[in-house]
Each structure stands twice: as C-alpha cells, then as structure tokens.
C-alpha cells in the first residue's frame, strides 16, 4: 500500500505567529567544499531543534533579499540531531549567494515539506538506489537511514552516475560503501579523464552488471528529469512493476505548501503530494516525465 497523499508536516510557529511563509532563521555551522560546484552545509535550527524530516523531503532555503528555493535534505533522520546537512549546487542566483556564506552566517529554513520515501515500506526488501548527479544528495538521506538500520533491509544496491570524475560527490561515503560487504555499489562517469579506471557511460550502463530478484526488490531513482525515462526502462526490464519503482520529482516550488501552483503535476502538487512518487502514480500523470 502506498501512503496517502496527504500533508505530513505542520507549519512552524514563529514568535507566536503561524505565517507559513515565514522562515526560521538558522545558523550555518560548517561549510565543506565537496566539488567545484557543490558545497555541503551543516545547518542548526534555533536551540538545536531537530528538523524532524523523513528521507526524500526538502526544505525551503532562503536568504532575505535574494530569494528562496527548495533544497533536498542530505542527512538521514538517523544522523540528524541538532544539525542537518544540505548539499547545494551553485546553479542559480540564490545558490550563488549561498556559496559565499561561511560558518556563523544565517539562512532561513522552512519545512521539511512533502512526501519523502516511505522507508517503512522498504523494510524486508532488497533496495536498489539509482542516483544521477546531485540526485545522490536526497538519495544519501535514504542510504544512510538504511545503513543505520541495516538489519531491517535485504540487499542494498547503489548505482551512481556522475558526469565526470571531478563531479563525483561523497567520495568518503562511496569508499565506505565499496568496503562494506553488505553494500553493492557501482559508479560510472559519463566523461572520464585519463586517470579514470572505472565504468564509463550513463547510469543505465550499470544495470547490466546487477541482477535482482524482482519479487523482492524496490527501486528508488533520483536524478535530473532526463534520466528517469531511461532508468525506469531498465528497471521494468528487470521485471519490476511500476508500483515497485519510486522517483523524486524536481519542480519549481515557490511556496512549499501547496498554494502557489508552480510545482503542479496534473492535479497534484509536487511539494505536498510528492516529491516522491511511484512510477505507477506517475503513469497516471500525463505531465510527469
């Protein structure tokens, strides 16, 4: 059963008000240069309040005077105490300014919002995660949650496609997953450099290297919109049904609370009923992919 498409979060009260658009002012505790394009921010809410999110949810990050944008939470709930982490690519006006922030600086946070990945549904199953590019950040929240509750799940297969060796995220984590014998992880790059010895090509090239028990597997795919069509084709080719395939939909969320209309996919709002959907749900939406 797929959980109901309902709102899972409540607005944060702020100074006694409940304006759903008012961000909570949080503090950046740490900034880590991950790649040339991405930085990882450790963010602390006032009083070290726990974010209370589920894997796959997002927060609205804002800088007063610049703007606000949806960013997936990178931390798993299992690794979220008084701080949480966001992996942010320098890709637009807002993220450009965010990239200039340093520890001690302030950001506005609203959320968490949306329906994340229903981890409880994946318990007892083999979990295949196919992430492309920055999609590894939201996938990471799910991967770490599974690793920290490893006995509750079957196989954990991680397929990751990066554009080039320089753009590979989370090298430490990748090395750790590679070492563990309870994780099967494969990495490919689309544009190798001379030193690259690993797999070459788009993420779908990795599927020939894995076999899954289709009766026993759930797949989760996160990446740029163009990737889904091809990954889904591979997953269906492995015998998975549309109900077993989960994906996260990127949309232009402006409010995060199901009002502004920007993230609408057919009659659904991706910020509330998504961003995680099954492929079966997506099939009913003409506009999904």
């Amino acid at each position: 059963m797929i959980p109901n498409l309902t709102t899972t979060t409540t607005p944060r009260a702020y100074n006694g008000h409940t304006s759903i658009y008012l961000p909570t002012i949080a503090t950046i505790e740490d900034v880590h240069n991950e790649t040339e394009l991405e930085k990882i921010y450790t963010v602390r809410l006032p009083g070290g309040q726990n974010l209370g999110h589920t894997p796959g949810q997002f927060v609205m990050v804002s800088l007063p005077g610049v703007g606000e944008a949806p960013i997936s939470v990178m931390s798993s709930p299992s690794r979220t105490g008084q701080t949480f982490r966001l992996c942010i690519r320098n890709a637009g006006d807002l993220t450009n300014v965010i990239h200039q922030l340093k520890p001690g600086d302030k950001v506005g946070i609203r959320g968490p919002f949306g329906r994340g990945f229903p981890v409880d549904l994946y318990k007892g199953k083999d979990v295949l995660i196919a992430a492309g590019g920055l999609g590894l950040a939201p996938a990471r929240s799910l991967i770490d949650e599974i690793l920290d509750n490893r006995a509750n799940f079957g196989r954990l297969i991680i397929l990751y496609g990066a554009r080039s060796p320089a753009e590979i995220l989370f090298r430490d984590a990748l090395a750790e997953w590679n070492e563990r014998d309870d994780v099967e992880s494969l990495l490919t790059v689309d544009r190798p450099d001379e030193a690259w010895l690993g797999h070459v090509g788009v993420i779908t090239r990795l599927f020939e290297h894995i076999q899954v028990n289709p009766y026993h597997t759930v797949a989760i795919t996160v990446g740029p919109p163009v990737m889904y069509r091809f990954v889904v084709m591979e997953l269906l080719g492995k015998g998975l049904t549309p109900e077993q395939i989960w994906m996260s939909f990127e949309r232009r969320m402006k409010c995060g609370v199901g009002k502004c209309g920007h993230c609408q996919v057919n009659h659904r709002y991706s910020c509330q009923d998504g961003p995680a959907w099954t492929y079966a749900e997506a099939l009913a939406f003409e506009e999904a992919l």
Partner: protein, 355 residues
C-alpha cells in the same frame, strides 16, 4: 437566518451607515467600464453593473502582498544577524457590496484553497474581516457569460447578506449572524412578509430563461472530456494562436497562483518578501534549475489552464475551477474562449470515437 425587505430608497443610508465602521467596496462606473473600488459616496454604487474587468479577488488576494519584512545586519560582536517579522497586509473591516454569484463562487474556492492543508493566515486574517453582500443576477452580463452552464447562477453559501431586486425593494437574505446584525443595526430593513416571498419567487423563477447555455456538455462531464481529450489536436491549434500574455489568468476569479519575490531597500539591509499574482501561461512558470521546462510549449500551457479550470481544481478542492464569468473571454486578444474550447474538444472527441 431570515429574509428581510429594504426599499431601494433606503439603500444609500445603509451604505453610508456601513461606512462608519467599514471600508465599503463595490462596483462603480469608470472610464473603462465597471470596476470594484472603494465607495466614498453611496450614489457611486452601481448595483445594476454588468461585469468588471478584474473580479473582486484583488481585495482577497492583493496583486502584490508583503508576507514578511526582514532586516539583515551584524550584531555588536560582529556576527551576522537576520530578523524577520510577518506582515498581515490589508487586514481591515471591509464590506464587498454587490458581488455577483459567479464571483462569490470564486471566493468560495479561495476559502478552501487557503484554509485547507497549510492554513494561509495572510489570506484568512484578511478574509475574517470581510463582509460579503451579494446581489442576485437577473440578467446575463453579456454574451461571454456562461454562468448557467457552470451552475454559478445561484448564490453559494458564503454570503453574509444577499440582495435581490424586486420592484422597488431589495429582498435581502441573511447568510450569517454577522450579516443579520449589520442589516438590523445599520438599515431600516424589515422582516419580509409572505407576500414579499411570493414576489421574490416570481422574480427568481422568471430570470432563468434569460440566461442561455453555451456548453455542449454538462459541467459534470468536463473532467472526463478533458481526460479523454488530453492529446487532442485542438491544443496545438490554440497554442499557435495564444500570445502567452497571461491576461486570462489575471482576470480570472479562481486563479490564485503566485510568485514569491524578495525586494531589497537601497540601504541593502531591509526589505520585504512579497507574493505577486503569477500566470501558468507564462514561459517561466514551470521552469526548473538546470533549464528543464515542464511546459515548454504554449499548447501545453493553454491545455494546463483548461485542465485546471475544468478538472484539476475539482479533483483537489471539490469545486469547479471555472465560474463561467466570461472574463477570460473578454480579455483574450485572440478569441480563445472556454466554452469554445470545450465545445471544440467535445466535437473532436465525438468524431474520434465515431459517435
């Protein structure tokens, strides 16, 4: 709730009495047609108006609305600081006088949109101060109206007071205790007699034949028609005609989509986050970081608007996304109309299924 009678000549006194405690807004005559504006004198009120370019939604969801103010700076220790303070804009006791039933239907939808799920206190605090006085439509506004098709020719249950012109009187129904209190405290209205009720019944039953039907299908069939017609040819034709100007959504009483923007003062420290009306007909509406646009073509955007009006809004909120007011048709520069589109879709689907 009861039915009252107020003679027409006593209406100005009622309006003036209300002005002591409320901003009174109503239809007035302007050089470009009728418009909802604040009334300073009772005789400005044009209750026999046809339609207005903009619906009264501008008083419920301002075109530009401050959500919060912020101040950025550094504290004495040199650390960066950010303060935010919510703003609840345009919250003042307001009477909207003379709303047509189609526009009341639009506000009924807004009430659901902004109260369901996450409650939008910016809308709701303003809404709580609003008094709605409707007026029964006895004649169609013009040929663009299709309220009868959309079932909005009768007053939805959101009014505080609702007036019907009966000869030299207004028969006034009270929809809320607040409305009844206002009527009794600020006017010389009296309880209607059975004779008044009879006259009201005659007026109401006589109005229906004056309104024509324009749709070839019932409004309850539009969701399934739009589902069947998702890949119809008509969308491409409309996409080629559409100028993507957004006029249709601007004038629509059920459109509520907005953009969120930050404005920064010249001191570079203070500013406001605002929401402004936005339009799904504009190219940037569904564009995401990285350049992918989920509705790149005009055809897909025109289709999205029709889907929202005729299907999606109903699916989400249980109410029609179109009130049949005809404003988008009057505003469109290339004669794209909702009845015309639905009827053409109906014809195309009929041909396709071979019926």
């Amino acid at each position: 709730m009861s039915l009252y009678i107020l003679s027409k000549e006593k209406l100005p006194a009622f309006v003036e009495a209300l002005q002591a405690g409320f901003r009174v807004v109503g239809p007035v005559r302007t050089p470009t047609g009728f418009a909802f504006e604040e009334i300073t004198q009772a005789d400005q009120l044009q209750l026999d108006y046809t339609t207005t370019i903009l619906p009264p939604k501008k008083y419920f969801l301002p075109q530009r609305e401050t959500l919060f103010k912020y101040h950025t700076g550094s504290n004495p220790e040199g650390a960066q600081s950010v303060d935010v303070e919510p703003v609840f804009q345009d919250v003042q006791p307001t009477v909207i006088f003379g709303m047509h039933t189609c526009d009341m239907s639009g506000i009924m939808l807004y009430d659901k949109v902004f109260s369901e799920g996450f409650r939008d206190e910016h809308y709701m605090t303003r809404r709580d101060k609003m008094v709605i006085i409707g007026i029964e439509c006895l004649h169609p506004c013009d040929d663009a109206s299709f309220c009868k098709d959309m079932g909005t020719l009768t007053a939805p249950p959101i009014y505080d007071l609702h007036m019907t012109e009966v000869d030299d009187d207004y028969l006034i129904d009270t929809g809320s205790e607040k409305g009844e209190r206002l009527l009794l405290n600020y006017s010389e209205a009296k309880m209607a007699t059975t004779d008044h009720m009879q006259r009201l019944g005659r007026v109401l039953s006589a109005k229906w034949p004056r309104f024509r039907m324009r749709l070839k299908m019932s409004k309850d069939q539009t969701p399934s028609l739009l589902t069947l017609g998702y890949n119809a040819h008509i969308w491409e034709e409309l996409g080629e005609r559409c100028l993507a100007c957004g006029s249709c959504t601007n004038v629509c009483p059920t459109c509520f989509c907005f953009d969120v923007q930050d404005e920064l003062d010249i001191n570079m420290q203070d500013g406001e986050r605002v929401r402004v009306w936005d339009s799904c007909q504009l190219h940037e509406f569904a564009l995401v970081a990285g350049g992918h646009n989920f509705r790149e073509s005009k055809a897909s955007r025109v289709r999205h608007r029709l889907m929202r009006k005729g299907k999606y809004i109903k699916q989400v909120h249980g109410l029609s996304g179109c009130t049949g007011c005809g404003r988008c048709e009057r505003a469109c520069l290339v004669d794209i109309t909702i009845p015309g589109t639905l009827n053409a879709l109906h014809d195309e689907m009929k041909v396709e299924s071979g019926v």
